[in-house]
């Protein structure tokens, strides 16, 4: 006897999309989320001290935040700290909403560039799901991008402001590609959702409801179709008998251990949370964790190393107005023939900092004195910062991995995780090249001074690859349809399945993959 047709673990980008698709097809679905519903009226930008609140309850670094619903993450052995958010909506509550697609080449690095491995699925397989996802997530942007010639049907792009126009003109003078951001942000009222009002810090949650987090998109729609969302439900293990999944064990808000039964279990707990569950589900038949016969679960962790370049203008701009992480981007250096590195990076223009971050930035640069000088130093930077971040593609390395950490457990006594991650030599070259090129843009934009550093530690949002898909169980965890090689009816649909990581923000591709895999799962169930 089962409680639901499908159990989906996680309500973030992938889990929400999968849950909605299953409900849309008429199945009974439970979505288990270890966090709770957020209250947008309490998001930091509703308060005066939003910059302080950004470092506390909405701190993206899980190791620093340590909310009651979080599990321990020891990332001391990584130059990049893991970032996420545990709530209904998952990390989409705090993401910037920058929403490009992976490019066609990203899925076939082995056959085109003799690097890493090819995905067993292609961009063309995912294309209808990108289009479906962009409708549901209210994506804004502009058709005609030479790098994405097939993208159509977008809401108008987010405005650039004088800040973005200055950068755009600099890119034009360099004759480098740039394009307005693809943004999961409603720039016009749509289907009862409000349009963006240019608050600024989207990455502290959007009280306006314009940024498309999954709690107000897929989850909301799925609930109308009968989805049961169970919050405060921290899944600790998948239940398996005779190599068949039959449910999950979870701990509720009262720390009571319970079971939920289903003949189909779908994991979408992120590239950190999903391997954690698989490893913690070890039993007599699977002593190294579920589906881990060849020690692949948790391995090949990919994170986008981020570089950061800040240029300082003479005159005041509008750097603090508009979506913080959505303005314009450049794929000019997606590939650089003849360079000393492989693959490439995306240049991602960001809006400037708030008052506190400006002051702390000046302090960090030893450019902030006190007394009357404080004000002179502050206004030399405030609203005068142009920022470009560099998202570098990461090559999969089996030594970069997620393992269980039995010494540090969550509220339910379930082990946390330890991250073992080292920067690939190619990543270091990409960062160096990217920071140099971004400084060229800053000079072209008329900045009197620029600062560059990387990898930026507190930026480990884009985690991928730890339960990757493939035909061969020796070097993959799930089949091309998302089903675990060794456990029937247990699936993974999140970024854990990624074979390679591209150099663009992965959220759109995470959801397209989740929607595609969900259709594959449904088809298997019907066959």
């Amino acid at each position: 006897m089962t409680d639901f047709d499908y159990i989906v673990v996680g309500s973030g980008a992938a889990g929400a999309a999968a849950a909605w698709r299953l409900c849309e097809k008429g199945y009974s679905v439970a979505c288990l989320e270890r966090g709770e519903w957020t209250n947008p009226s309490e998001y930091p930008s509703t308060q005066t001290n939003w910059e302080h609140l950004k470092t506390t309850k909405t701190n993206p670094v899980i190791a620093e935040r340590q909310n009651v619903h979080d599990y321990p993450v020891d990332d001391q052995d990584s130059p990049i700290a893991i970032c996420n958010f545990n709530a209904v909506g998952g990390s989409t509550i705090l993401y910037s909403g920058h929403f490009p697609r992976f490019l066609e080449t990203d899925f076939k690095l082995k056959s085109t560039e003799n690097l890493a491995d090819d995905w067993p699925i292609s961009y063309q397989d995912l294309r209808p799901y990108f289009e479906l996802n962009e409708q549901h997530m209210a994506v804004s942007g502009l058709a005609g991008d030479p790098y994405y010639r097939d993208i159509q049907n977008l809401l108008p792009p987010v405005p650039l402001g004088r800040t973005g126009e200055r950068l755009a003109n600099a890119f034009n003078r360099k004759q480098w590609h740039w394009w307005p951001s693809y943004s999961a942000i409603a720039t016009r009222e749509q289907n009862g959702r409000s349009a963006c009002i240019n608050l600024g810090p989207c990455n502290t949650g959007c009280p306006q409801g314009a940024k498309s987090s999954t709690d107000i998109t897929y989850i909301k729609k799925a609930e109308k179709l009968g989805l049961s969302v169970m919050t405060g439900a921290a899944v600790s293990k998948v239940l398996v008998k005779d190599h068949n999944a039959f449910g999950v064990e979870y701990v509720d808000v009262d720390n009571q251990t319970k079971r939920l039964l289903s003949s189909h279990v779908i994991l979408a707990a992120s590239a950190i949370g999903t391997p954690r569950i698989l490893l913690n589900s070890a039993n007599e038949d699977h002593p190294n964790g579920l589906n881990n016969r060849y020690d692949q679960v948790g391995r090949h962790l990919m994170i986008h190393p981020l570089g950061y370049v800040e240029g300082i203008c003479e005159e005041e701009l509008d750097t603090d107005i508009g979506p913080q992480g959505c303005m314009l981007y450049s794929l000019q250096h997606y590939r650089t023939p003849g360079a000393d590195h492989k693959l490439g990076y995306l240049m991602h223009a960001l809006r400037g900092a708030g008052p506190l971050e400006t002051a702390l930035s000046a302090l960090g640069k030893r450019k902030l004195k006190f007394g009357q000088q404080l004000y002179e130093d502050f206004f030399k930077l405030y609203r005068k910062q142009l920022v470009i971040s560099l998202i570098c593609e990461d090559l999969p390395d089996p030594n970069n991995r997620v393992i269980l950490d039995p010494k540090n457990c969550d509220r339910a006594g379930v082990p946390g995780v330890k991250i073992k991650y080292a920067l690939h030599e190619n990543s270091k070259k990409l960062l160096s090249h990217g920071m140099s090129k971004a400084r060229e843009i800053m000079a072209e934009a008329g900045c009197r001074r620029s600062y560059a550093y990387g990898p930026v530690r507190n930026t480990g949002w884009h985690v991928m690859g730890t339960a990757r898909m493939g035909e061969n169980p020796v070097n993959s965890v799930v089949k091309p349809n998302g089903e675990c090689h060794d456990i029937s009816n247990l699936y993974v649909v999140d970024s854990s399945t990624f074979v390679t990581g591209s150099c663009v923000n992965p959220a759109n591709t995470i959801q397209a993959v989740a929607l595609y895999l969900t259709d594959q799962i449904i088809a298997k169930g019907l066959s």
């Binding site: 126009e165 400006t358 302090l363």
Partner: protein, 129 residues
Amino acid sequence: MDVRDLLYKMYPGDPNSGLPAFRALNSDVSTILDAANIGQINACLSQISEDIAQSDVNHIVKQLKEKLPKEAEKLIRNSLQFYFTHSDTIKILRDGEETLFPNYRSLPDFDTDLLEPIWMRHYGDNNGE
């Protein structure tokens, strides 16, 4: 001089921008530091022999950093956080608005003419077809 006097000197206010003086923010020093840190810093300030009232505040902060590096760092960061997130400071920087939400801020719509060099490079006169 005690910690409060030091904070008054660190943040004297700015007549040009209208940013408030720390003195005007009516705050208790205990909102910035705990009692133990206040005591340590006060003790250190009392040992600084120069005429603090006449000295450059940055010179005093420097001496404090040399003698009590952790406490000085906490004072600096906590006071910056307090000052630059205080509603009186924010209202000046945001023309009267205390919070970001729900205050709409206008930006002009995206100007597609900016993309003309890219259109021409990639599509010539074909308008992206």
